[in-house]
């Protein structure tokens, strides 16, 4: 990617005993980008973040920040600051002194320091909370203090280790918007670790999906959702239906796949990867790209039987069993038409819905 050399992570590997936490990861992150590391727990995302912050050191590979190799520097000598998962608010200091903590290390007049702290308190909308102790703060307030304490240092990169994980759902959604707004305002590069795919998709410019210490795909949220490169990525991001099949034809950027469950399907090609006719492949279709109807639609379609229907208010999630597929197919419909358990229905798919994925 053009101009994305602000942070260069180059073939970084980290072992803990016999286990490889991070396995040859290379990433390039641009200045001012909101970049997320997404993956299940134990995928190595936090270890990678800690290596960028200087709390762990790679066994192999380099980490370069803004042209300077920081691979072996301790945290206090890096232009990075961290928002910890536990927030790590100093319990013996009040809010003001927590935020001023990092500024006291720098050469700075008391006046300038106070001005910077006031500015930070205003940014997190906690002006007037300066004299409070950490124990008197709610979870959301602690999270904001931790953010202000890190941002007030004006780091080149801000590292966030699942900072919203401890908050309840409503507060988390508010904080997502607030965090994104703050990031745009300050223009600092954010590296955000999360296991919550919705969070990653809604906030990030780009997301790296990780599994077992490796990066599976790096892309913007739309591409990740619509053009996942592998089954693991497609599985992790949202819900996806998979159908096994055999590639029969490749032409004009379209693939024709013969499947047991859906018959002959025309699918979009992924951006990467090479395919040869005759290869075993997967067809992946999102639940909202499928259409249910009681009357027989235009071909192509397949008949099925509803095994479960859950009403979710603005939409319904429906499981349909079809012949040739081991697991029921998930379909999301608008609630204008009612579908009930046990009904026989037809499934068709919107053009552009089916994706070709290597098995």
């Amino acid at each position: 990617m053009e101009g994305s050399d602000f942070i260069r992570i180059d073939k970084v590997t980290k072992q803990f005993g016999a286990a490889t936490a991070v396995d040859g990861v290379s990433l390039h992150i641009a200045k001012g980008e909101f970049f997320s590391l997404l993956g299940p727990s134990g995928c190595g995302k936090t270890t990678l973040l800690r290596m960028i912050g200087g709390f762990a050191f790679p066994d192999e590979g380099r980490i370069v920040l803004d042209g300077a190799d920081v691979t072996d520097l301790p945290p206090n000598r890096r232009p990075t600051n961290m928002v910890f998962q536990s927030y790590a608010i100093f319990p013996h200091l009040n809010v003001r002194d927590n935020i001023a903590y990092g500024l006291r290390v720098e050469r700075m007049s008391a006046g300038e320091r106070n001005a910077r702290v006031d500015e930070a308190l205003a940014m997190i909308r906690l002006s007037g909370y300066g004299e409070r102790k950490a124990q008197q703060l709610s979870g959301g307030e602690r999270q904001r203090v931790a953010l202000a304490r890190a941002l007030v240092k004006r780091p080149k990169v801000l590292l966030l280790d699942e900072p919203l994980g401890a908050l309840d759902k409503r507060l988390r959604e508010t904080m997502q918007i607030e965090l994104r707004q703050i990031q745009r305002d300050v223009g600092i590069t954010f590296i955000f670790v999360t296991h919550d795919q919705e969070e990653a998709l809604s906030m990030s410019d780009r997301v790296a999906v990780m599994e077992k210490g490796r990066v599976l795909q790096v892309a913007d949220p739309k591409t990740l959702y619509e053009r996942p490169v592998s089954r693991a990525v497609a599985d992790f991001i949202g819900t996806m239906n998979f159908f096994e099949g055999r590639l029969v034809d490749l032409s004009n950027g379209k693939a024709t796949v013969e499947t047991a469950a859906l018959g002959r399907v025309e699918a979009s090609m992924p951006s990467g990867g090479t395919f040869a006719p005759g290869a075993r492949v997967l067809i992946a279709i999102r639940p909202e790209k499928l259409v249910l109807s009681h009357e027989q639609p235009e071909a192509p379609f397949v008949p099925g039987k509803i095994v479960a229907a859950s009403y979710l208010g603005d939409r319904s999630q429906i499981q349909v069993s079809i012949s040739g597929a081991d697991t029921p197919v998930a379909v999301v419909t608008q609630t204008s038409t009612a579908f009930r358990d046990g009904e026989f229905v037809y499934i068709s798919w919107r053009s552009g819905g089916p994706l070709l994925i290597a098995e």
Partner: protein, 275 residues
Amino acid sequence: MLLSPTTALLLFALAAPIALLVLYSFWTQSGFNVDTQPTLVQYATVFTREGYRTLFLRSVAISSVVTLVTVALAYPIAYFVAFRVQRAKFTWLLLLTIPFWTSYLLRVFAWKVILGFNGVINSGLISLGLISRPLEFLLYNPTAVVVTMAHTYAAFAILPIYVSLEKIDRSLLEAAADLGDGPFRRFMRVTLPLSLPGIIGAAVLIFVPTTGDYVTPSLVGGSDGVMIANLIQVQFGRVNNWPLGAALAISSMAAVGIIAVSVTQAARLAVARIR
């Protein structure tokens, strides 16, 4: 009034003897009998006789030094076990308390054996040919009292400090480093303030009993190492002047309490200024 067994025991074993002591301190001794006419004459003696004041100040000085030395030596040990030992912390703590499995008296005697005229140090140095006559300054002086007490009370310092260090959230230390502190600044700004309760606990646990200790000074202190407790013990024993002994005990108890509280408070205020 209903009393829980614990409260009853405390009343019987602690409050009653102290009340009795307070009562005695207002009486006077006449021959073998006690005159129960209330009077402040014992306290007047305690506060005016210069020898008593000297003895009391010396006791406070010795146990202050013991407290400082013990906490200063215990802190690195507790720090090591809390932060550096990864596995088998319990074993380490157990090993550190092994000396405390023997009686206090035996430990003091052990130091007498180590520091004595024909003791371990002297005979060792002589057999190495480093000295020709035994060193006499090792035993029977305040330094011997300090050395012996610092060792015998070590566990009382290590354990509370260890507990307070162990409780410190490790992410606070990472946050301090992340915000720009090197190891020393981080220690001064985070570790030290957060372990202050342990340090205060350790200091009180050492200062209070050592000021009133009479076994160590009488065994290894010599005439220069005599402390206030020795004087009190003599009043209840050979001299047989319980009212004066009681007044001495109550006065030193009050003084130790005042010193402990004010030093603790001063330490808290000083540390609260660390930003």
